[in-house]
């Protein structure tokens, strides 16, 4: 509880400072603000508790389960399903693709009708979800095979840079942002625990150097896939 309060203090300090000192306005609905902050504190405390007793153990348990089963095929299918399934319904992503549909229509990339915009947005959403599924699959394969992470990431950066030169300008901002919005609050702990669990059960892997990196893939591949989507259309 005390930790959660400390975590929130900076936001409250920033808001109070800018409201009172810079904008010179009173704080509206002080009671609402206090109740809301109390809810955030309680929520964060429960979340962190549940993280340690629920999400982390579940992720590690799945990793050990697959390691014991010894089937790479099912493990990779699980990795893809986890990446795809958690991204396709992500609210932040849905908000971004709808915005992107409007941009495409305004830039005359697609017809300015509701149907065309919805088609474009759904296609984009599917593209991002596929890319995250692909990312977790490759990331898990990397942990098993012991490929060096930095070479893969640098290769990914190189593809982003090259594709930026060919992609339509309207899509670049969206593509770059789509990398950041894909990884949600529940996916990140699960995927991290999965990576750490796998790397501690595969012989010769170090959980710190090999276990992390799945989230990094999941924020890199959407940029490549989204620019690809923009080039194909």
């Amino acid at each position: 509880m005390v930790d959660s309060i400390k975590d929130l203090l900076p936001i409250i300090a920033v808001i109070v400072f800018f409201q009172l000192v810079v904008l010179r306005q009173p704080i509206p609905n002080l009671a609402d603000l206090l109740i809301g902050t109390a809810l955030v504190v309680v929520g964060l405390t429960l979340f962190v508790y549940g993280l340690k007793t629920g999400l982390f153990p579940i992720g590690e348990m799945m990793a050990y389960g697959f390691a014991r089963k010894g089937s790479i095929f099912w493990l990779l299918l699980f990795a893809f399903a986890l990446g795809f399934g958690t991204t396709v319904a992500e609210p932040a992503l849905i908000a971004v693709v709808n915005e992107a549909g409007k941009i495409a229509a305004a830039g005359h990339m697609i017809a300015d009708t509701e149907l065309a915009i919805a088609d474009y947005a759904n296609g984009l959403r599917l593209t991002v979800a596929l890319s995250v599924g692909f990312a977790i699959t490759v990331g898990v394969l990397r942990i098993i095979k012991g490929w060096p992470l930095h070479l893969l990431i640098i290769g990914g950066y190189a593809s982003v840079v090259i594709m930026t030169g060919f992609a339509p300008p309207e899509i670049i901002g969206i593509a770059y942002d789509s990398g950041g919005v894909t990884t949600s609050t529940i996916t990140v702990p699960l995927v991290t625990a999965l990576g750490v669990g796998l790397s501690s059960s595969v012989h010769g892997r170090n959980p710190l150097t090999d276990g992390f990196g799945l989230v990094a893939f999941a924020s890199l591949t959407p940029m490549i896939f989204v620019m690809g989507y923009g080039m194909l259309l």
């Binding site: 975590d7 929130l8 900076p10 936001i11 920033v14 808001i15 400072f17 800018f18 603000l33 206090l34 109740i35 809301g36 109390a38 809810l39 955030v40 504190v41 309680v42 929520g43 405390t45 429960l46 979340f47 549940g50 993280l51 007793t53 629920g54 999400l55 982390f56 399903a81 986890l82 399934g85 396709v88 319904a89 609210p91 409007k102 941009i103 950066y157 840079v161 930026t164 300008p169 309207e170 670049i172 901002g173 770059y176 942002d177 990398g179 950041g180 919005v181 990884t183 609050t185 529940i186 991290t192 625990a193 170090n206 959980p207 710190l208 992390f212 990196g213 989230v215 999941a218 924020s219």
Partner: protein, 266 residues
């Protein structure tokens, strides 16, 4: 009060809805593919329930208190009157003085929202456990928050100045690549991950409001095109700051080691 309780249930239902695909994948594979007995099933389910209820309360509290105020402030700070934009005069030369508060707000909001970001807390706890305490929870979070803070401030500067996003991002990539060569190996994967975890529940809505506000009010900027890109900055800069933090820690540790050796020799 009753409205508050109803709001909470709405938030709870929304969270459960978001979590359903994850639960489906986990249970599907557990029951159909792995088919192993789960030890402590009760405890795991209780923990999962805590995560969902906690997240719902968290989002509800943000929606009720911090988001409306934060978004309003972002709008006021980017309003033409505050920035000293005269919409009647068609010639407009940006004067950086007017934007100092905007950059400061961007940096401050980037730092403070990152400190409260639940997924970053999760990754920091995991990194601390896995490294046997070598990676400090608070140290990592502060390093990431400094990165986001610099990133958002740079991103707002980009919107104000109207320079192309890709130049900044590509320059950032070059810095990341060079840092990768000299950073302690053990920290690289963690640093790459910290880029992706920073931008979720808390940061995105506030930062988006700031970006859209700037892009719609500054003459010559198109909100549809220039409003994007802040998230990209916020995902790139923490990679750099976490690697820098690791390099500084290593440098500091080496210096202490050398000092000790020297004093032993004497």
């Amino acid at each position: 009060m009753i409205a508050g309780i109803l709001n909470f249930f709405d938030a709870l239902i929304a969270t459960v809805h978001d979590v359903l695909p994850i639960v489906g994948v986990l249970f599907g594979f557990q029951l159909l593919v792995l088919r192993q007995r789960i030890p402590n099933l009760r405890q795991l389910l209780i923990g999962f329930a805590f995560v969902i209820v906690g997240l719902a309360l968290f989002l509800q509290g943000l929606d009720q208190a911090l988001f409306p105020l934060g978004k309003m402030m972002a709008e006021q700070l980017t309003a033409p009157a505050f920035l000293g934009i005269d919409s009647a005069a068609h010639t407009y030369t940006p004067d950086w003085h007017h934007y100092v508060w905007v950059y400061l707000f961007a940096a401050a909001i980037g730092f403070s929202t990152t400190i409260a970001e639940p997924s970053l807390i999760a990754v920091a706890i995991m990194a601390n456990q896995v490294s046997g305490g070598a990676v400090g929870i608070r140290g990592l979070r502060v390093a990431v928050a400094i990165g986001v803070s610099i990133g958002i401030a740079l991103g707002t500067y980009r919107i104000v100045s109207g320079t192309p996003l890709q130049y900044y991002i590509i320059a950032g990539y070059v810095v990341v690549m060079m840092q990768t060569l000299v950073t302690p190996k053990s920290i690289i994967a963690l640093a790459y991950d910290s880029g992706g975890v920073t931008t979720s529940t808390v940061t995105v809505p506030l930062v988006t409001a700031l970006g859209l506000g700037l892009a719609s009010n500054i003459p010559g900027r198109n909100p549809l095109l220039d409003g994007f890109g802040l998230i990209a900055f916020a995902s790139l800069c923490p990679i750099i700051s976490v690697m820098a933090y690791a390099q500084l820690s290593e440098w500091h540790a080496n210096r202490i080691k050398k000092q000790r050796l020297r004093s032993q020799e004497e």
